[in-house]
Structures are given as C-alpha cells and as structure tokens.
Amino acid sequence: MDNLEKKRLIDKHSPKTKLFKNSALAFLFGGLICALGEGVFLVLTGIGAEEKTAGVLVTLIFIFAASALTGFGIFDRIAKHAGAGTLVPVTGFSNAVTSQAMDSSSEGVILGVGAKIFTVAGPVILFGISSGVLYGLIYFFAGLIF
C-alpha cells in the first residue's frame, strides 16, 4: 500500500472538524468577552477613571481572571467549547503562560517555571513585538514622506 492510498484511507475515516459550530461558538464566546470588557470599561470610567487608564485596567482584569480560571482548572473546560473565542483575546495569552508555569513548577522555580514559562506563548511574544517594531518603523517613515 503506497502513502497516497494510506492518506486517502486516513482522510476518508477521520471525522472533520465542525467548522460552523466551532466558528459560531468562537464568535459567541469572543463577543461575550468583548462585551464584558466594555461593561467593565463603562463601570471604571463611570467611577472616575480616565479612558486610557480604564482600557489598561480592563486588560489587566482579563489577564488576571483568565490566569485565575486556569489555576482553578476551569479555563480549559470553557476553552474546549469556545476555541478561538477564548484563545484570540488576551485571555488565551494569559492561559498559555499560566498553564505552562503550572506545568513546569515541578521542575523548580528557575529551570522549571523561569526557563519554560513562555514556551507556548513564545511565538506570540516574538512575532507580536517584531511586527510592532516593523509597524512602528513603517509608521515613522511614512510620516516623514507624507
């Protein structure tokens, strides 16, 4: 049996990812998180916080909430339904860092947690910062020309 035939058999018998259901759930959960964020933002500005401060606080609150939910073992149970809905917002980043830190804690604080904490989140940090720098440069030079 050649590999082409094997591939055909594997494709034939492997259930497909439920694209529509997953997309709909991601949209709902992602939207819910954003709506919650907006609600918290309105409360914070309502009690006198500046808009810029409130924005940062909302992000921090969500990072903390996702990290706490990860610690209590609840986040992954939500995320397996929500998919990209919890992965794409800052909650996904928070979970990636916290879960790795929890995992590595048995190997010690420095060579365990310290060395491995960004294993999952590493690509986001590297390419997030890199694209930020690139975007900044484009913005800067475009400003000189136009």
Binding site: K6, L9, P15, K16, N22, T70, T86, N95, Q100, S106
Partner: protein, 344 residues
C-alpha cells in the same frame, strides 16, 4: 521469511492486575480495575512519580494475587511512555528485580509479554517473571503536547492517553491462559505526520501483522474469539476494518480494539478513543484475561499498536511509523471455535 514463533513450552499468565485513574474509573471497565485513583495522583507530588506509583501498585497487586513475593521474580520487563522509561524506574526500582526496559510507544504491553515469554521459554530454570506497562495522561500530555491546563480544542481524530497500568506475572501453570506464539511486527510508514491521528497511522502496521500472520499460519480468523488491537481508536479501527474486509473478508468481524473498550465515547469526552500503552495492558488485565479464565473466550491474538514519533520529528514533517507486534494467548487444550460468545 518465517515470522511466527511457536513456544514449545507455553508460558502462562498466572496473575494480573489493572490500575487506573479517574477517567478509567468512569469508563465501562471501571468496576473491573483492581484499583483506581480518581485524582490521577496516586498520592504523589508529580505526574511522573504518579505513573511510577501506579505501576508499583499494579505489580504489588498482581504479586499478591499469585501469593508471591517480589523476590520470586527473576526478570522484570516493563516500559511506559516517558523518556528513558522513567515512569517505570521511578516506581519499580525499589523491587530490586533484574530489569529489561521496553520502549515501543503504545506497543509496550505486547512487546513486554513477547520478550518475557520468549526469554522464559529459553530459560527452563526461570520460574517467574513479570511484565508491567504504564501510561499517564498528564505525564504524556506534558511530554508530547501542551501544558495540562492549556485551553485548546483537540482534533476529532485525536485520542485520549489513558492513565492506566497493567501488571502480569508469567509462570508455567498450564491451567491459566498462555502465550503460545508470537510474531514481531514490522515498522510500517503511517502515511501521515499528523500527531492528532495516531490511530490512523498505526492501523497499517496492525493490518500488515494480521494479514502476514494468517498468510503464514494458514488458519482462519474464525479460529479465534477476538483479534485485539491496542489503541487504534475509532479512526484506526475503521481503517483497519476496511483493509481487512478487502484483503481477508470476514476477518474484520473478529476485530476488537482496547482503545474503544476503555471509555464510553457517548459519556466521556475522549474523541476517537483511548491511546497510551496502559490501554491494552489494563484492558487485557481487567477484561480479556478474566474472560479467558472463566472460559468465555479461549483464544485471542493481541496486537498492542505503537506510533513511533516525537514532538520534534512531527514538527520536522516526518511521518509517524507504526508497529504492531503480535502474541497469541489461548487456554490449554482448546481446539474448537467457541460459538457461545456474541460478537459485536
């Protein structure tokens, strides 16, 4: 090339024990396990040592059932899924039994029984030996995939590594189910580099061994009660059945997969079924051997299926290699096909 090896003096499985975690306890075989810890921790601080402890409990239980001491064992053949078999060494080093470590991915159970029975057959002075196989879901997730609490969606074809252990004491009691033949499987290209589809990748190796076995032995699949694979899961079992139906029609009706027996796919969120070398070990110890001992079934072929790969090899785009060693386990004096068992 002659590949089937017949044991002149069959080596019997005189005692066995199965230990599992929470998901295994909730599964259809949960009641048949000798011991389960629903926390998956087995009183240990780390998952790696928990896996070792699980193996230790399994071996001790099997020894107790056989009324033997660890000092009676002349050889221990054991393995797990962790690097350098630490899941085994962390739990079994204190026994002080001469040890052979086996790393065959999820084929470890069959491979251990094959090696041990072969060594014992060639060593008439050897009275007792033990084979232990363990796998731990959390230890395997940490080593092969993402952190345990990482929130992601698994592919529908992915399988759930079982937290399970099986221990077997081998001796020469003719009244017990015995290993009478074995056949070493070939490494077969799995046709995919998708780590979420190990069942599919292993199915071709299982098909290769099963077809080669019947080709060489000249026997009919109906001479057996079951042809049992280790952890092909739903996807792998479906592929295997299609190949068998095409190449050896009728053979697929005798197929049974431990990966589909350990959990209830309706109630448990395990996608394509169980995987991990503890799967076939615990199903053999908790379910199949008791059926043989009570005479409900009398002759099976057991092929624990292994997917050889590493996180690095997968990221490098290398295909998974499948292996499926085979052992024949039967009750002494069994001649005719048993027709009383309803096959699914």
């Amino acid at each position: 090339m002659k590949r089937i090896v017949k044991l002149n003096s069959p080596i019997s499985i005189i005692s066995h024990a199965a230990v599992g975690g929470g998901e295994e306890r909730r599964g259809p075989l949960g009641d048949k396990f000798d011991f389960c810890d629903i926390t998956d921790r087995f009183g240990m601080d780390t998952f790696e040592t928990a896996e070792g402890e699980m193996g230790r409990i399994a071996l001790n239980t099997a020894l107790g059932k056989a009324k033997l001491s660890h000092k009676d064992l002349e050889l221990l053949v054991a393995g797990d899924l962790q690097n350098q078999c630490v899941g085994t060494s962390l739990g079994l080093n204190s026994f002080g039994i001469p040890f052979l470590g086996v790393y065959g991915a999820c084929s470890t159970c069959t491979e251990s029984l094959l090696i041990l029975s072969s060594v014992m057959e060639n060593s008439p002075d050897m009275t007792y030996g033990a084979a232990v196989t363990t796998s731990h879901n959390s230890a395997a997730e940490r080593q092969f995939r993402t952190p345990i609490e990482y929130g992601g969606q698994r592919a529908p074809s992915a399988q759930w590594t079982s937290t399970a252990a099986g221990a077997f004491i081998l001796g020469r009691d003719e009244g017990k189910p015995s290993v009478t033949e074995f056949m070493v499987g070939k490494m077969v290209d799995g046709g995919t580099a998708d780590g979420s589809n190990m069942g599919g990748a292993m199915s071709f190796a299982a098909a290769d061994t099963i077809l080669s076995y019947f080709d060489e032995s000249g026997e009919s699949p109906s001479d057996f009660d079951y042809i049992v694979t280790g952890d092909l899961g739903k996807v792998g079992s479906d592929i295997l059945k299609e190949i068998l139906a095409r190449e050896l029609p009728g053979c697929e009706r005798f197929h049974l997969d431990c990966g589909l027996l350990l959990y209830d796919s309706e109630r448990q969120d395990i996608h394509s079924g169980a995987s991990g070398c503890g799967t076939s070990a615990s199903v053999l110890a908790s379910h199949l051997l008791p059926l043989m001992e009570t005479g409900q079934i009398n002759r099976i072929l057991l092929l624990s299926t292994g997917a050889l790969m590493s996180p690095s090899s997968l990221l490098q785009g290398q295909n998974i290699t499948g292996i499926a060693p085979l052992i024949r386990i039967e009750n002494k004096g069994y001649k005719k096909k048993n027709t009383t068992v309803n096959r699914k």
